[in-house]
Amino acid sequence: MQTSATTPPLAVQGFTASFDGQPAIKGLNLEILPHERLAIIGPARSGKTTFLRSLNRLNDLSPGFTHSGKILRDGKDIYDADVDVGELRRKLGMVYATPVPLPWSIYDNLAYGLRLAGIRDRAKLDERMQAALGYAFLWDEVKDRLHEQAHVLSGGQQQRLCIARVLMLEPEVLLLDEPCSGLDPISTAKIEDALVALKEKHSIVLVTNNTKQAARASDRTAFFLLGELIEIGPTAQIFTRPAQKQTNDYLMGQFG
């Protein structure tokens, strides 16, 4: 880990993201701290996913995307022209709402990210693979069938495979976009358990529509509404004594 315990891996400063001139998130200011699980909650169209995709520049792929403000990583704006986007995305690993195993073997799925970076050393791949699968609580379930097709795994196993695939790259921050939205409670619990272990090494940003999950599986919670950050604070405080009325209304099920 190159990030020390004091500097935030990511500092978002006055960040606005727009599609075709329509802002999806507006003037966002927040920091992602080392070794924390930050949950992002909010109703639909509140900009949660746009925020997440801004952090590893996946929004660059969308036509009509423009931004203003800064996202600092080690003091440098990730949108600067000389930033290596590949390296950025390796260090800010993204897991999507639906598990997307590539149509290959479990082994090839896991090895893909490192192979892209030019690392093909078998021993190194195997070593990282065991560690990554261990952190994703998947090693015992797949260690004897690494060369089977990834799509034969169950939905929950596939999602843990996707997490392990990202962990292979030893990212600084894990970006999880509603990773449990299609999963059963047992699979969800396994992933939440994995997050506890993972925050020892990584910061985690967890976008979720499930406020109970945010309450269970995060250290801090941020509440987004219509593209604005309404409130951010320790999870216990947000859920028991929110400072803003809108946060309280959302958590009480008044809207969204």
Binding site: V100, P103, Y112, G113
Partner: protein
């Protein structure tokens, strides 16, 4: 009188079976007719010897080689260009005027009769560029002819690859080209190879365009600048000039079996690949 639902259902199914049967019967009849007339004359000597007295005697070895060279080279030239165009259209540009023009051009090109390609190839490759009636002129012409097919089938196959695959690859730090090469093309390969095999079949069976560009020499082609007669053209000339109907049928049998074998091979390869990739 109204038919009961059960009766009308039976009638409809029966009618569809009948129509399917007719289609199948026509196919089988044509194939059987040609093979029955041709196969008895297909001997080892026929396959391995040069023709004598304009094809009345002897074999078809130069035509087999000529077909292989002209069609093979055509696809070898067209496939990389076609696939690259398809990748450009679907991965590297946003939809706009340029993509519309390219796609419209490809569609128009695929509707042009082959004799027009032949005429163009004759005037441009054979005369203007001085290649003469040759294997090279013929394959260049055929390459232009099958290019639209390869572009459009490849494009369809590439578009069928889920966007989420691309996002995963890019999200793992892949460049756009790595993503295209390792994920998109790999997943689209069965569809792309279907288009290429179709094009190879079309090149092998083309007559008009090769007659005007590759010529109809009976001798063995010794270089790409030699004229060569393809199997399809040989068959046409044998029957058209009334030289030898038995040898015409025999040539047609060889042609049909070659195309059949090619399709089966492609099908087997695709199935094997599909199993490996896991679709």
């Amino acid at each position: 009188m109204r038919l009961s639902p059960v009766t009308s259902q039976r009638l409809a199914v029966g009618f569809m079976w009948l129509l399917t049967g007719i289609t199948f019967a026509v196919l089988v009849f044509i194939l059987a007719f040609i093979l029955v007339h041709g196969l008895p004359h297909v001997t080892w000597t026929f396959l391995t010897h040069s023709p004598a007295s304009m094809g009345r005697e002897g074999g078809i070895f130069p035509m087999i080689l000529g077909t292989f060279l002209v069609a093979g080279l055509a696809v070898l030239l067209a496939a990389p260009i076609g696939v690259a165009t398809a990748v450009y259209l679907s991965e590297y540009t946003r939809e706009g005027r340029l993509t519309l023009v390219i796609r419209f051009g490809a569609d128009c090109l695929s509707g042009v009769p082959s004799i027009i390609f032949g005429l163009f190839g004759f005037v441009f490759f054979a005369i203007t560029l001085g290649m003469g009636l040759s294997v090279l002129s013929g394959s260049l012409t055929l390459a232009l002819m099958v290019l639209p097919t390869i572009i459009r089938t490849s494009e369809e196959a590439i578009r069928a690859v889920p966007t989420s695959y691309r996002e995963v690859s890019l999200g793992l730090g892949g460049t756009r080209w790595q993503t295209v090469f390792y994920v998109v093309l790999r997943s689209a390969l069965p569809g792309i190879s279907t288009g290429i095999v179709l094009s190879l079949g079309r090149s092998i069976s083309e007559t008009a365009a090769v007659m005007l560009t590759a010529g109809s020499a009976l001798r063995l082609p010794r270089s790409l600048f030699d004229s060569s007669r393809t199997l399809a053209l040989h068959f046409y000339l044998l029957s058209r000039e009334g030289i030898s109907m038995p040898n015409a049928y025999a040539t047609a049998s060889v042609l049909i079996i070659a195309i059949l074998a090619l399709n089966l091979l492609a099908y087997a390869l695709m199935r094997r690949f599909a199993v490996k990739v896991g679709h």
